[in-house]
């Protein structure tokens, strides 16, 4: 196996390549810019940058590097939109499971125009689309049903429909722009509502059960397919319900 740690290695060659923990990604002596921003999965070790996660190395101009990986378990990060399930309700907040190491707290007032008088009645088991406000290793994450400006912006409980779990990588693909091919192909023939949580939960709702099942199966199948394969897969499934 080729050792990827020669000092003359140009960083460009590793970008968008698969790396494993321990790989030397950058030698700081070779870098021209004096400031590098490291994202998830990278760590400074003396004068090298090493990977700590397995995944694809990504780079964004001028100086941002990070590792993109797909996991079954979610690590809460501030700013993410996730799908949580209500586990418990306390006087001051709802307790949600967001597929992370800790349960998340949703304050009862974290809604648009939320006051003590109009607290929503979320029972145990309610699926809620929330935004992670604050998350770190030592505390329970705090989530809210508002966007950063305080508006409700589609956050809140999701009624009816069907929720299934996937990896975080598939969630990232579904949310990427331009629209991923599977959603594009489905959207041309069917109308459905979709909520994607970065924690690996996806919710689908459509007018008929067949449509819900078809959309869910297409999404679940599409994770490791290329663009053309995704289009063909959707076409094959749609034929089964004569569309």
């Amino acid at each position: 196996m080729e050792v990827k740690s020669t000092p003359s290695q140009q960083p460009n060659l590793l970008i968008d390549q698969a790396i494993v923990p321990g790989d030397v990604v950058l030698h700081l002596s070779n870098i021209s810019t004096n400031k590098i921003k490291l994202g998830l999965g990278l760590r400074q070790d003396a004068d090298t940058i090493k990977a700590t996660n397995m995944g694809l190395l990504k780079h964004s101009r001028p100086n941002k590097y990070w590792v993109e990986s797909s996991t079954k378990r979610y690590i809460p990060t501030a700013g993410d939109a996730v799908l949580g399930i209500v586990i418990d309700s306390k006087p001051d907040n709802f307790v949600l499971d967001i597929k992370g190491p800790n349960l998340a707290f949703l304050p009862v007032l974290a809604f648009e125009g939320g006051t003590r008088k109009n607290i929503p009645k979320y029972e145990v088991g309610t699926l809620v689309y929330v935004r992670v406000v604050k998350a770190n290793k030592i505390m329970n994450p705090e989530v809210a049903c508002t966007d950063a400006n305080g508006k409700s912006a589609e956050f809140g409980s999701l009624k009816d429909g069907y929720m299934f779990e996937t990896s975080t990588g598939l969630s990232q693909m579904l949310l990427s722009s331009p629209t991923c091919p599977v959603l594009d192909a489905l959207g041309k023939k069917l109308s459905f509502e979709l909520a994607v949580g970065l924690n690996g939960r996806v919710w689908v709702d459509a007018s008929s059960p067949e449509a819900v099942v078809l959309v869910s199966n297409s999404i679940m199948n599409s994770e490791f397919l290329s663009d053309t394969q995704q289009k063909i897969m959707v076409k094959t499934l749609l034929k089964k319900i004569e569309l």
Partner: protein, 201 residues
């Protein structure tokens, strides 16, 4: 048992009648039974000690108290400085296990709570608990009160109070070095972390 000298040979145990209310005032370690306001009972294990009344007092009875009981380590009192290890950090408070009171270590577990408003003296509503303590940090704190049934209330709202020792969360796990009253740095990786640092002279 209402003798006038300290009895070194007999040990008194809780529940024993040590005297009569007509001739003695109950002191530390003794109590009067509410049903029978005549007998003085012991509530601690130790030796009886009878102190003659002070010449100025109106009551001519001696005071009886129990002394020499084994003190099980130190007990935190209001106003004492304690050393505690932070166990849990939440958005509005941090929990800590009290390990020493002053210079003496405790022999049983005491829990303390540092509330968000007691972390520092200035801008107390803008305190970020994550930037003040991490689980595992050793802090010097002041006991504010006996608190509720679960924990003492502690405060770090002084320059000399706060985190005295903390481990770095970077790979090395070395003890960090304070660089200001809000930051500590790992000596091997150089990673800076935020804490409410105690000013140690």
């Amino acid at each position: 048992m209402a003798g006038d000298e300290e009895r070194d040979d007999t040990i008194t145990t809780p529940g024993e009648v040590v005297g009569h209310f007509s001739s003695l005032i109950p002191g530390r370690g003794t109590y009067l039974c509410h049903k029978n306001h005549r007998d003085i009972y012991a509530s601690l294990t130790g030796h009886c000690k009878i102190t003659p009344p002070s010449p100025t007092s109106t009551d001519k009875r001696s005071t009886i108290e129990i002394v020499g009981h084994k003190s099980h380590g130190a007990i935190p009192e209001t106003g004492s400085i304690v050393i505690a290890r932070v166990t849990k950090v939440m958005s509005k408070m941090a929990s800590a296990d009290i390990m020493c009171v002053g210079a003496k270590s405790v022999k049983e577990k005491f829990s303390g709570t540092i509330r968000q408003q007691d972390v520092r003296a200035t801008e107390i509503d803008k305190v970020d608990m994550y930037a003040s303590f991490h689980p595992g940090d050793i802090v010097r704190a002041l006991v504010l009160s006996l608190g509720d049934s679960r924990a003492y209330f502690l405060s770090t709202a002084k320059n000399e109070l706060g985190v005295v020792s903390a481990q770095s969360t970077s790979g090395s796990g070395d003890t960090m070095v304070p660089i200001s009253w809000t930051e500590m740095q790992c000596p091997t990786t150089g990673q800076v972390e935020q804490r409410k640092v105690a000013k140690v002279v």
